[in-house]
Symmetry: C2
Subunit: 318 residues, 2 copies
């Protein structure tokens, strides 16, 4: 039996067909036609599923179920997308709609949650069942897995590490809060802080750079640029302490770091790890694994397939 | 059937006999003879148990089990007290020893954990199964209950909210870390900060106070003393933000605040709640209950009795 995994993003829809051992039989992606309305997106998912089945050489009857990762908040029980700004969806009954189209049982969850499930199943977290995952990109996403299951908490939105307050009088966040980790350590924050320092006329390799991106700042820091190093170290410090504080509360067996910023490697990870270890200090009985995500942008569809597989596993159908 | 609950503190041993509905049949306490060695403490627990049974008018055969709350870290599976500095115990096999003495199945857990179980069963948390509890006293203790069970995390020590870093360059904590919440918002911290401000010669109602205690500072703040208000508001701010950050990660259904400092009432709770609400901001779908602990120093033995009861409940014996 096979499982369809869909990573429904605001920019692209990624999908794959995966077997119960995690082997990928087919994978593909299309640009999301979010502006054409929900029906257009449903049709895109249907077409992608057909294309993937053709590539994999399987029939619809060989698919046991599907999972979909959503860029927003999801009511998992009701199969409802509560709010997905990138898709312009609000209270959209995706489960009901897409089950009719695909003629399969479909399971939904937030994209950060399915990515963490993917890493646990086939990526960096394979040896662990209690995982804190942070995704450092344009924003900061996070997911907590306890005993192999996504921890959603009472509000149902899971862990929101990106909105933990690390500077109570810090910059205003899009969420309406002040000093959220996301405003001080995301790719967006790194660019913002570098621009502010450059605006003060400080010398830097970044001085004449147009359309500055976080990867430019990280690259300059790697070359020893003082301004860039300062910005990157500050972000890394916030990340290290916030992760250590999360460990004090959640007690995961491993921390996984994903997202574009993390791919920059040691220039960010070294100071992050230093602050993380300092903050845990003597409480750390043995060094807590701080792992880099391994599945890249496949984590979403692999985890979405696992979301479906795990339902059938629990019901002892597979 | 009845259950024996013991709250084994460094200063006193409190105990009670409780029925399965939570009714207290007998309660009592004795000063802990920690300096006389572990055998003396075991004998004290045995004597207290006998005294409580006599008061309750029950025989040993009517006790189904016992629970003990420990002021330190406990290996719950092994029944081992790993480290309890107040008792001078390290790797002490308490479960094995005390089961021989009491001739009962005995269950151990950390004192903050059993107090939270007590509040969930018979106190402020009766309507909730997902609870974050903080105890603000000489130090800061905490416990997390998820789905009605203590969340211990992978390291096994549960949630350590008192050692979350809220000022990375803050004061040195006894744990070896810097800027732990405990160093900035416990009773000890409040006294320390008030003394420092008084040392600067600032006018205050506390000026001529000898042997300053946290309750004096809280009382002066209640009377509008500027220095005291400043100290209390600062501590309350750290507590409010730390609790909100914990909510972002854990998603409890309620927060319970216990300990001597919390009993001071609105002078601390009002600014704490303000900062808590601000930090949660728009993420709070509906106001999260911030409740005062209700069982006082009975929470420990009541929760310890529940620890034992819940074992038999799970095994469907009661």
């Amino acid at each position: 039996m096979y499982f369809l995994g869909i990573d429904l993003g605001g920019t692209s829809i990624k999908g794959g067909i995966v077997d119960r051992r995690g082997e990928i039989l087919a994978q593909g992606q299309v640009p999301t036609r979010a502006d054409d309305g929900a029906e257009a997106v449903l049709a895109q998912i249907e077409d992608l599923a057909k294309e993937l089945m053709a590539t994999a050489g399987i029939k619809g009857s060989q698919l046991q179920g599907a999972g979909i990762g959503i860029p927003g908040s999801v009511d998992v029980e009701e199969g409802l997308v509560r709010l997905a700004p990138n898709l312009h969806w609000r209270n959209f009954p995706l489960k009901e709609k897409i089950e009719k189209v695909l003629r399969l049982p479909v399971f939904l969850d937030n994209d950060a949650h399915v990515a963490a499930l993917g890493e646990m199943w086939q990526g960096a977290g394979q040896d662990y069942r209690d995982i804190l995952m942070i995704t450092i990109g344009t924003g900061i996403g996070s997911a907590v897995i306890l005993g192999g299951e996504v921890h959603r908490g009472f509000f149902g939105y899971g862990a929101e590490l990106g909105h933990v307050k690390v500077e109570p009088e810090g910059p205003l966040c899009e969420c309406g809060g002040r000093g959220c980790l996301e405003t001080l350590a995301s790719a967006t924050a790194i660019v913002h802080q570098a621009k502010r320092e450059l605006g003060r006329g400080r010398p830097s390799l970044l001085q004449d750079k147009e359309a500055l991106e976080a990867k430019d700042v990280l690259h300059a820091a790697g070359q020893g640029d003082e301004l860039a190093l300062e910005v990157v170290n500050r972000a890394a410090g916030y990340l290290g302490v916030a992760l250590a504080n999360a460990v004090f509360l959640l007690g995961p067996a491993a921390v996984i770091i994903g997202g574009g910023v993390a791919q920059a490697g040691e220039v960010l990870l070294k100071p992050l790890k230093k602050r993380f270890e300092e903050a845990l200090g003597p409480w750390q009985i043995k060094p807590l694994p701080l792992l880099l995500a391994r599945l890249g942008n496949k984590a979403g569809f692999i985890g979405a397939a696992y979301l479906s597989l795990s339902f059938f596993k629990k019901a002892r159908y597979v």
